[in-house]
């Protein structure tokens, strides 16, 4: 891997972990759960 690229995945990984933590703290998983436990009528072609 080129030396410039070597740190990119580590930086992205850190950003991803922080992003998940911020989202989880803001209650986003509850919102995802709320959508996912109801039949999505649009997804199945009715809504």
């Amino acid at each position: 891997m080129k030396s410039k690229l070597r740190w990119v995945p580590i930086g992205v990984l850190a950003a991803a972990v922080m992003s998940v933590a911020v989202g989880a703290a803001g209650g986003e998983p509850r919102e995802v759960l709320g959508k996912a436990v109801r039949i999505c009528l649009e997804c199945i072609g009715i809504g």
Binding site: V8, A16, G23, I44
Partner: protein, 308 residues
């Protein structure tokens, strides 16, 4: 000697499932493990559905144990209109670790397309002058249908539609729509023109899959487009030992995504299915977390950790 080539030479053990097929079947079963849902025609409502799976797997599939990341992204953008930190972070995690290996090794809808391509009908390839620009359509789908429309389109209720799920996603029709409609007469009575459109999209994708390899992944999948952004620098990489390569181009002829393997082995289009690696007669292609993006590998010992 690498996997499939070695087996063909020895020829004694008969057909065996490849590493790719094993992981595809395992992940399809794992992400859709709520078997009782298929029996009852109801979806799983447990807490695990707050977790996004890495693949395009409809959360309205009766067996789904987790949430579809593309559906979740649209739900968060279209609902509270907040920045989707959690969903985007989850997608970035999968992307930076695996890149498009998710598409090649884990995606159930990729498995469906792979199996359909095994049907013995005449195969075709899209001419490069159409194929090359068409590959960018999936980025447009990601930007417009998944991000911009759910986030910005005005609605009466304040909650925007998941435009990709509603108008395009054939995985939702196949995994969610078909089993739920078969089991539920009330849902069947509500069918209208939208379902007919979605059934048409599904039929087109499935029909094309018998002729062209993975048409949905190549041209339409927004999740594949997202993971493609990570392919060049993800931890999981493909590697090419140019010293061993004899330039036979068997890898490029066999590549389901038509990647120029000897030039751009970690192309954004590579789904890391491992077909090139298993067919390479000299073992020049490797894959794993220790491969280098320059296309060179340290030595034969490291190459053994991969698809075989």
């Amino acid at each position: 000697m690498p996997g499939m080539y070695r087996d063909r030479v020895r020829g004694a053990k008969g057909p065996r499932l490849s590493f790719q097929r094993k992981t595809q079947l395992l992940s399809a079963a794992l992400f859709n493990g709520y078997a009782i849902g298929f029996q009852k025609g109801k979806i799983f409502t447990g807490g695990a559905k707050a977790v996004c799976v890495p693949v395009l797997n409809c959360y309205s599939c009766p067996g789904a144990l987790g949430a579809c990341p593309i559906g979740s992204l649209q739900a968060v953008l279209g609902g509270r209109k907040n920045f989707p930190f959690y969903v985007l972070g989850t997608l970035m995690l999968f992307g930076v670790v695996l890149g498009r290996a998710v598409c090649g090794l884990l995606c159930p809808f990729g498995l469906v397309q792979d199996l359909l391509h095994k049907i013995p009908v005449p195969k075709g390839k899209v001419p490069p002058r159409i194929d090359r620009p068409a590959r960018y359509v999936k980025y447009g789908v990601l930007l417009v249908m998944v991000i911009l429309l759910p986030a910005l389109a005005p609605t009466g209720t304040g909650i925007a539609s998941p435009y990709f799920c509603k108008y395009i996603c054939p995985a939702g029709t196949l995994e969610g729509g078909v089993p739920l409609l078969l089991m539920n007469p009330n849902l069947r009575r509500a069918l209208g023109s939208l379902f007919h459109w979605k059934a048409l999209v599904l039929a087109a994708v499935l029909g094309l899959s018998t002729v062209i390899h993975r048409p949905f992944c190549k041209y339409l999948c927004p999740l594949g487009a997202f993971y493609a952004l990570f392919n060049r620098f993800s931890f999981y990489q493909m590697g090419l030992d140019r010293g061993k390569c004899v330039g036979c181009k068997q890898c490029e002829r066999s590549c389901p995504m038509d990647v120029e393997v000897t030039k751009h082995i970690n192309s954004p289009e590579c789904i890391r299915c491992g077909k090139c690696k298993s067919l390479c007669p000299t073992g020049a292609i490797s894959s794993g977390f220790s491969c280098r993006a320059t296309g060179k590998v340290e030595g034969a010992q490291k190459e053994s950790s991969g698809f075989n």
